[in-house]
Assembly symmetry: C2
Homo-oligomer: 509 residues x 2
């Protein structure tokens, strides 16, 4: 596996055998032309229908504080139902920033969020982990820590999400263990769950102190992010509403994501599901701006379909693809950065899994998504993250990042001299034009094996999954965390010990 | 496997349990926005460099008759080297048709070739076949026949190529056996190898008579096609030149495809390789038009890169993707229909194989290719066609075809009534809007399994490959060929018997 293991290190930060080839997989601009699913007038009709949903039909908001903010912002509140007028939504959209930065531990790990940018996050939120060595099992802190290390090791992954739930850690302490792993094992943008104010406050304090910031410095920029799923159809529940408010007030980024499965929690049509998703996203964005005008917020959706015979969710389908395109049109209408997602319903990392994930990814790319979530590792519609699938999906993300860089077409690239030099039926292996470039010209695969059938068979006939096992095992075995101030690591552990002694912070719901 | 086998029949012609959902996977228009790799001025520079290659550096043409045609067309011929002036190329481009039809056995199997159309062909030309039941072996006539039946069974495949080489049939008789299988087992557009005039003439006569045409009727339209690979760099060999001439004179379509691997038979840069590919394609197109002005011809390329350590060809890479985009820009400049190709270097149908094939496919789609070749089943860079990979790739092609159809966004689709009807936290399963549509709304997967992990495990934990085995076995076991006039089948077999008795037709080189 030596050759393959060496390959596995390419494109990773601080690898011992750094590639001679310079690649920038961090600052990505989407090079793909935006694709429209609907005409502009139908997008406007959909937007107006969403405003009608908010104004006439209303949305249920479970948190009294959130209802109060909506009321103060001009909404009509009847019991738990909130009716948000167009002018309230429009005011919120006017104050939501079209561009902002979320900070990592170092400036070169910051991410800029605006239309046209491209940011990748691996699969997240899975109760289970799986790999070929240990099998499928409930996620543990050990799994989470290893997945953070893998995420840290690839420049094309820009954010560290809650990859897998560490089910061996009790809920009132889990956020400490997860944040400790993310902050010490990574220098990338960290995630904080919105599971009630006490946990969120803990997260903010740990990140603030670990980054060496004052309260004012922390609040002046976004240093972490959360994901807000509305409870479709038409509910914003307690912890989600609280998260929107807490993150907005602290100047931290919320990514708003209605999870609207066509035919189940949303209308069966793309247009209907996106009308609901858009309405819910607008309500959540409005709440952030009512809590603090100018708060950083990402528009978003996760709209796919279900199998109408079983109700099972599906991903990477034509309907999912089309919904992504519609979301992109709506995001461009709003002018806000936005998140989209790929994913797969497959149960193992087979051809179905690869095809669904990549098909969903292309929907996101042609939709012009700023952040693409669940872009590596996601199986079973998010119930499992696979160590091997993280690696095989990373191959696709790295190839997309290569396309972001563009390709030169100077006269030297057109290579008339080389074309004169090589005789008919000859080859270019020894041409001067080739010799000057051969070490750095091509993307070298992470897990792809291009050897012929005989060589591949002699080497053990390993499929991509088995090669991926060698790659992630090598990363985990040799992982060296990024340099952090030891005092801050001590401080973080002291904080966690103190808060643990105080009883931790149970999630709220 | 019953449920899966039933799924396998969807989208197929004449299946017993025809889908209630109406789909048209035949008349496809590319819905994706065209992506440019280079600026227009660099495309012009590349085009001019290609013209310089043809005029100054020259191309070696091995067939005397072809050199004579070039000389008559104004080219300068020195020995075997032909120097083609710009005005000769431009005259040829002016007479090459921007749009034409290639005929199947029935009008609904005809394909229209022009920019903006989308035609798919499965993987072709492989010496080996593989499947999970019988393993990897040299291709046989039985394999070829089964693959023709599978190709016939899916509307999203529009042409019947030489999927696998029937190595159990001697070369001087192989074209009879292949044509017999294609004509009797299919009603789609058939392929004829350019392996010398005797075989080509046999092919034309068999197709003419089987379609019940006079000579004039046959020549008046295209009823079959061939693929012409130049011998890069800068050689058109005997059978290829003869094929270009024979097909043009008979009014049959040639698809011109320089196979220019960056760093090997072509410069290592995308721009350099595409300059060579473009020059060779222009030379071949010019020869068709010198043989018969107005002859139907497809522009094309197959440009990818090699592993510079081993020389092994790679497919579905960022460089392959970019080369496809450049070819698309050049084809649009010429205004001609054109072919592009996906493919994979993987040795089995694993995540690598799926990812490479789909990545290459997206390059073709965003390049605006009119014909996408090797779009299903291709492994090992074309040395093997996999029965299972045909099926798993077909899933992706069918999903692309779904996107071609577009998605409605009427007021009824926006579904405000359903959004009013379903309470917060409710679901849409029983909504009137859902009930009216649930049987036909969504694409139903061919081989994808969306069941949850428990159900999937209970059913045997089959991966996509194993499910694909059940699907192709079911197709082959229950295949019924399309209706053909029995007299023509007898006539075809008589023709083959007579020609076999006469000694057949060895390939020429």
């Amino acid at each position: 596996m030596t050759r393959i293991e060496r390959r596995g290190r390419r494109g990773r930060t601080g690898a011992a055998d750094a590639p001679r080839r310079k690649v920038n997989y961090h600052d990505l601009r989407n090079p793909f032309p935006a694709m429209n699913a609907f005409t502009e007038d139908r997008i406007e009709a959909l937007h107006q229908a969403s405003l009608t949903v908010l104004e006439e039909i209303g949305i249920k908001v479970l948190l009294p504080e959130a209802r109060k903010l909506f009321r103060q912002g001009g909404a009509r509140v009847e019991g738990e139902m909130v009716h948000i007028g167009r002018e309230t939504v429009e005011a919120a959209l006017a104050s939501a920033p079209p561009s902002f930065t979320v900070k990592g531990a170092r400036p070169d790990k910051d991410i800029l969020l605006e239309l046209g940018r491209l940011v990748f996050q691996p699969g997240a939120g899975a109760p289970h982990a799986t790999d070929l060595v240990r099998g499928r099992r409930p996620g543990t802190l050990g799994d989470f820590r290893e997945m953070v290390q893998i995420t840290q090791s690839f420049d094309v992954l820009h954010m560290v999400p809650p990859l897998v739930e560490p089910q061996d850690i009790p809920m009132h302490l889990r956020h400490y263990a997860m944040t400790e792993a993310v902050l010490t094992q990574s220098d990338k943008v960290p995630f904080v769950y919105s599971r009630g104010t006490p946990q969120v406050r803990d997260g903010f304090e740990m990140i603030r102190d670990f980054r060496g910031l004052s309260d004012d410095e922390f609040h002046a920029q976004s240093w972490c992010y959360t994901i807000i799923n509305t409870n479709s159809p038409r509910v914003i529940d307690m912890p989600m509403a609280q998260g929107l408010i807490d993150f907005a007030r602290a100047g931290q980024m919320s990514i708003v994501t209605p999870f609207t499965l066509m035919g189940a929690m949303a209308p069966i049509t793309v247009a209907g599901a996106m009308t609901l998703s858009h309405a819910e996203a607008l309500a959540a964005i409005t709440l952030t701006q009512l809590a603090r005008p100018g708060a950083p917020v990402c528009y978003g959706t996760f709209t796919s379909n279900v199998d109408m015979k079983s109700g099972a969710p599906a991903f990477g389908t034509p309907e999912h693809f089309t919904a992504s395109l519609v979301a992109g049109q709506l995001a461009r209408k709003l002018g806000l950065p936005w998140r989209c997602a790929g994913g797969s319903a497959a149960n193992i990392n087979d051809a179905q899994a690869a095809n669904e994930s990549q098909f969903g990814l292309w929907g996101c790319l042609l939709a012009g998504a700023s952040v693409i979530i669940h872009s590596a590792g996601w199986l079973e519609g998010g119930l499992t993250v696979s160590f091997e699938k993280i690696i095989t999906d990373l191959e696709v993300l790295q190839m997309v990042a290569e396309l972001c860089a563009g390709t030169p077409a100077t006269d030297a690239d057109i290579a008339l001299d080389a074309l004169r030099e090589v005789a008919p039926s000859g080859h270019f292996f020894g041409a001067a034009h080739t010799m000057e470039r051969y070490q750095t010209q091509f993307y070298e695969p992470l897990v792809g094996d291009w050897s012929n059938f005989g060589t591949w068979t002699e080497r053990g006939a390993f499929d991509a999954n088995h090669r991926a096992t060698g790659i992630w095992q090598n990363i985990v075995a040799n992982f060296e965390p990024p340099a952090h101030d030891p005092d801050r690591i001590d401080g973080l552990r002291d904080y966690i010990a103190r808060r643990t002694a105080e009883g931790g912070a149970p999630p709220e719901s």
